[in-house]
């Protein structure tokens, strides 16, 4: 291929990627400005795409009220875990650089419609939102803050599950974070869990399912085992809506499905029942 053709093609491709977003559900090409304006929700099919922790905090927390906790806590390659693609340590450094945050969760305090809350917001871009030691530590410390200050706790999950590269240490974060939730329960402090696409594996089997209220975004994938594993186990195809937020509402595990654009007012309304 002549060099000039190659170059224009490249250029065109880059330009296209910069300007358009392809919806992962309906494959529609949406102008990026419109996609962002619509809070990363597909205007054609209402698919709720992944959204960064900071954008989520911007949507939910009153302006200039958010104070971040524990920015100093970052992942560590304590097992010296190496797989085909190299060391976990290198991947940590790369991911921090690429995503611009230092763990799969951002925690802090802030106000929702003037009501003080503690909030933990997971970010799927960071190791698939997986639950590692640092993630668990931040989530527990935030819940301890809520406990000490009698504040409602909100966790927004977006996670594929436990972080394999940390072995059983990551598994134990499930027990650790739930022990924090148990303390809130004993003190009658409300905990609201918001499950977004996806919330699976070890995260669904720990704090994400333990909300006094479990709220989900439309269409979110929520479940314990992966679809492929289940299909292999039972030897048959699963229904299309299997493990969707709607399926979980039907089976009694989620209280309500709330659209992204309505989430703040929904939370404000619920919190008003606590703070009366």
């Amino acid at each position: 291929m002549p060099w000039h053709v190659h170059k224009t093609e490249e250029k065109r491709k880059v330009k296209k990627e910069e300007l358009w977003v392809k919806c992962k559900k309906c494959n529609a090409h949406i102008y990026k400005v419109d996609w962002k304006k619509n809070l990363e929700v597909c205007p054609k099919c209402n698919y709720h795409g992944s959204i960064s922790s900071w954008d989520r905090i911007g949507l939910l927390i009153d302006k200039n009220t958010f104070e971040e906790f524990n920015t100093e806590i970052i992942p560590e390659d304590s097992l010296k875990f190496n797989d085909l693609k190299g060391s976990y340590k290198d991947k940590i450094d790369e991911t921090i650089k690429k995503v611009g945050i230092s763990e799969a969760v951002i925690t802090g305090s802030g106000k929702i419609n003037g009501i003080n809350v503690v909030i933990a917001v997971m970010d799927f871009r960071f190791f698939g939102g997986s639950l590692g030691s640092a993630t668990g530590e931040k989530i527990l410390r935030a819940s301890n803050y809520a406990y000490d200050n009698n504040l409602p706790y909100i966790i927004i999950s977006a996670s594929g599950g436990a972080r394999m590269q940390e072995g059983a240490l990551s598994l134990m974060q499930m027990a650790k974070t739930c022990a924090g939730i148990a303390r809130l329960n004993r003190k009658n402090i409300p905990y609201i869990s918001i499950l977004t696409n996806p919330t699976t594996g070890g995260v669904s089997a720990s704090y994400a399912m333990m909300g006094d209220l479990n709220i989900s975004e439309p269409g979110a994938l929520i479940g314990f085992a992966g679809r492929r594993v289940i299909e292999q186990t039972i030897g048959e195809k699963l229904p299309d809506d299997f493990q969707t937020a709607e399926y979980l509402v039907e089976h009694g595990f989620v209280d309500a499905i709330v659209e992204r654009r309505d989430m703040k007012s929904f939370l404000g309304n619920v919190l008003a029942y606590y703070n009366h």
């Binding site: 920015t71 100093e72 806590i73 970052i74 992942p75 560590e76 304590s78 097992l79 875990f81 797989d83 085909l84 693609k85 590692g132 030691s133 640092a134 668990g136 530590e137 527990l140 436990a162 972080r163 394999m164 590269q165 940390e166 072995g167 059983a168 240490l169 990551s170 598994l171 134990m172 974060q173 499930m174 027990a175 650790k176 739930c178 022990a179 924090g180 939730i181 148990a182 303390r183 004993r186 594996g201 070890g202 669904s204 089997a205 720990s206 704090y207 399912m209 333990m210 929520i222 479940g223 314990f224 085992a225 992966g226 289940i230 186990t233 039972i234 699963l238 089976h251 009694g252 595990f253």
Partner: protein
């Protein structure tokens, strides 16, 4: 030729994989064996009061030495038929809910809870998801944190991920020296991170799933030694070692108040994990 032969013997054995194989040995003692060898007066209690009686998870009143306890554990089988009936020790939500019900019952009777962990994992099936496998495990993790009696958990064979942890939030967590405890099976991990399950031995090593590694990492509190080649080589001796460890730990915990038990369990689990502090 001679050179390559020397090299081969110098190659380090993958100890983790050897242990994985021992932990899955066909003659490895299962809960049923320990029930026969060291527990007496077992009164089995059935059902979760919601949906069914899960045969992959059993429990009831039992006695060990002079101590009365609540025994709960994964129930693998010996034969293929037994394993099919008991779903290979892979519990459904009903099993986890039964376990929790029995822990609450133990509180009522002021009995220490002994949980015996031996499962490839929680059952990954349609009806398990439908009935809330994630919720059932999550609930156990949360509720176990507040249980007012001592909980002693022992991994006797396979400690498969959330399915193991679902009855594993103990004041003391013990492991047999050739048992494994992991966030994912070596095969599952290999098929994701190595793109091929045949790299399971590499994954096993990387995951640090042996009792030795987990003691160092602070995931478990104590290792129960196995006789000879492993637990399968001498069931009686193995069971004696388990009995000794259980009784020691009951003695250790029996004088703690409910509050102390709950607080120390919280302290223990909140301290698990390795992370860095950015300067």
């Amino acid at each position: 030729m001679a050179k390559s032969k020397v090299k081969k013997t110098e190659e380090p054995v993958n100890k983790a994989w050897e242990i994985v194989k021992i932990s899955r040995h066909s003659n490895r003692p299962i809960l049923q064996d320990y029930l026969n060898l060291i527990f007496t007066n077992f009164i089995e209690l059935h059902g979760d009061r919601y949906f069914s009686d899960d045969k992959a998870m059993i429990g009831g009143f039992a006695q060990i030495g002079k101590h009365k306890i609540m025994l709960i554990g994964h129930n693998k089988g010996k034969t293929t038929n037994e394993n099919i009936e008991r779903n290979f020790g892979m519990a459904k939500p009903d099993g986890y809910r039964k376990a929790l019900r029995l822990m609450k019952l133990a509180e009522r009777f002021n009995l220490p809870v002994i949980t015996i962990i031996d499962t490839p994992g929680a059952f990954p099936g349609l009806e398990a998801e439908e009935r809330g496998q994630a919720e059932a495990i999550a609930k156990n993790l949360t509720e176990m944190a507040s249980v007012k009696v001592p909980i002693i958990s022992i991994v006797i064979g396979e400690g498969g991920s959330g399915g193991a942890l679902g009855i594993g939030v103990g004041n003391k967590v013990l492991m047999l020296s050739n048992a494994i405890y992991s966030v994912i099976s070596p095969e599952g991990c290999a098929s994701i991170l190595w793109r091929d399950a045949k790299f399971a031995p590499d994954a096993a090593e990387a995951l640090n799933l042996t009792a030795d590694s987990l003691l160092k990492l602070g995931v478990i509190d104590e290792i129960i030694p196995e006789p000879g080649e492993g637990a399968h080589s001498d069931h009686k001796k193995m069971a004696e070692n388990v009995k000794k460890a259980i009784i020691n730990n009951i003695e250790l915990l029996k004088n703690l108040s409910s509050e102390e038990l709950i607080d120390s369990r919280f302290e223990k689990f909140s301290g698990i994990g390795k992370y860095s502090i950015k300067s």
